[in-house]
Amino acid sequence: MALDIASLVDTGTGRQSRLIYANEEIYRQELERIFGRCWLFLVHTSQIPKPGDYFRTFMGEDDVIVIRQKDGSIKAFLNSCTHRGNRVCRADRGNARAFTCNYHGWSFAPDGALAGVPLENEAYFGELDRSKFGLVPVTKVSEYKGLVFGCWDANSPSLEDYLGDAKFFLDVWLDAMPGGSALLGETQKMVLGTNWKLPVENVCGDGYHLGWAHAGAMSAVQSMDLTGLSVGNSGVDLDGGLSVAGMNGHMVLSALDGVSGYAFYPDPKPILEYLEANRQTVIDRLGEVRGKQVWGAQVNITIFPNLQLLPGLNWFRVYHPKGPGQIEQWTWAMAENDMPEAVKTQILENQCLTFGLAGLFDNDDGDNLAACTEQSRGWRTAQMDVYTNMALGRSGKREGFPGDIAAGLVSEHNQRYFYRRWQEHMMAENWAEVPTYNINSLTAQEAEHA
């Protein structure tokens, strides 16, 4: 039976069918049309600085190795032996001159070439065409200012076009300071019993849950105001932030005070000093709006489908789907290379305190997302809908920013755009049928002088 994707999401009313969180057939189609088609985050260049450095990750459920080449370029391959399919790399990361399969000993060079085959002459009689059995490369690999993405679809737009106006916000981390960016620490991995879309939705636009789901954590560590968001959701200030969407499926939540990214640091002083010492540099590089209001503020950036980064709280995360009801959530700390070592250390520590495996905030979300997933699996619940219908129709242009923008961090505007994008991809047979839109795009000149 063909899936009736059109009936599953209604952007106009903010309705989603619960089938999209539980149905196996829908999930298989997501692996093909979303994870098999979109640009997916692979690695930050800081994680594989030297030739032979590699990092193992996933594209959808496909196990992938990303490898720094001798010439400094980056290639990515399926982590699967071309002989019998076994995994050729079992480590998370490292440096290697070759990847040797455990099963029969086939060995692959960092450029993917099949470099060694045991008994090649004696048993294959010298007849194996090694050139046909290299590791399978990821179709396209491209970098945007340190972020390396891969894509299986040869017909996809370029990475820059795919990111579209989300680059305006990504640059607030990647290009604010001349030294650029880095990810810190080992990968913080946890299994969550949730559909992959729910954590994306939670972070892409849901400021509503902050004051309630995280009330305990906020009461414990909050050191400054975050646009009036209060413990227990007793109040909020919708003028203090923006919900930005309509950028090819990417979304941003941003406070506008230039400091509140560090609201959940018990001791934000050293970082606030770094921000103020470098504020003018960032204004010179990115303009007044981003330099004064966004850099340092609480900002949630979502790159469709499964990458999220929060400059300020400084966590960077991908969600790897493991079936319709399970994910692995991978997190790292984010820093700017120009930050003093002590500030980087503080960021890593605070990220681990707030959003790590024992993170005060993270430890509130997992069970909620898992229960939303479970409550979509029943015979009766599977027939029901869920809603993101807060502040319908209340969005528009905002001077100095790209995107279709709703006021405040508490809105469900961004989630509607997320599900709209999900639906657009799921309905499209190929990239040519996927619409491109960057609503209220700024000209290069406007962006610079914003």
């Binding site: 414990a220 227990g232 681990c352 305190l353 024992a358 069970d367």
Partner: protein
Amino acid sequence: MLDRPLSPPPVEVIVAVTQALHCEARLLDNEDFDGWLAMLDEDICYRMELKSRRFRADRSPPLPVGPGVIFNEDLGRLKLRVDRLKSGFVWAEDPPNFIRRAISNVEVVARPAENEVRVHSVLIMHRNRIDGTTRVLTAARTDLWRGEGQAWLLVARDIVLDHSVLPDSNLNAFF
């Protein structure tokens, strides 16, 4: 750090420290967080580092700012975590999860000072969660305990968690 004692420490020290480890586990199982905090030295260093799975022969240098941590707590931060758990807002713990800690492999390996001992132990944490699932976490711990009068206080704990991917949705629990 001396891994094996040259001569065994006095039996009464072993008994006292083992009793302290068991008492600590019971207090935590019963969510008597104030009782537990009272067993900690004011300069407590409570750490669990992040790990990655690497080939034995891998020679990559250490990461620039270190591996990162799951816990790196002083007394203030442990109190902050306890404050959160006691805030009444931590919905993931209400109703309470059923948690039981088993401590074993207690081995007193060194006596850095007359009133201090270094102790290895193994923790098995059985968590029957609100969602009905049961997760079992295991960890190794290396502690420094200090005898203060009748009481033994925990001065330092290094915890090694035996999971490269955490098989649970939170770590609202102390090890």
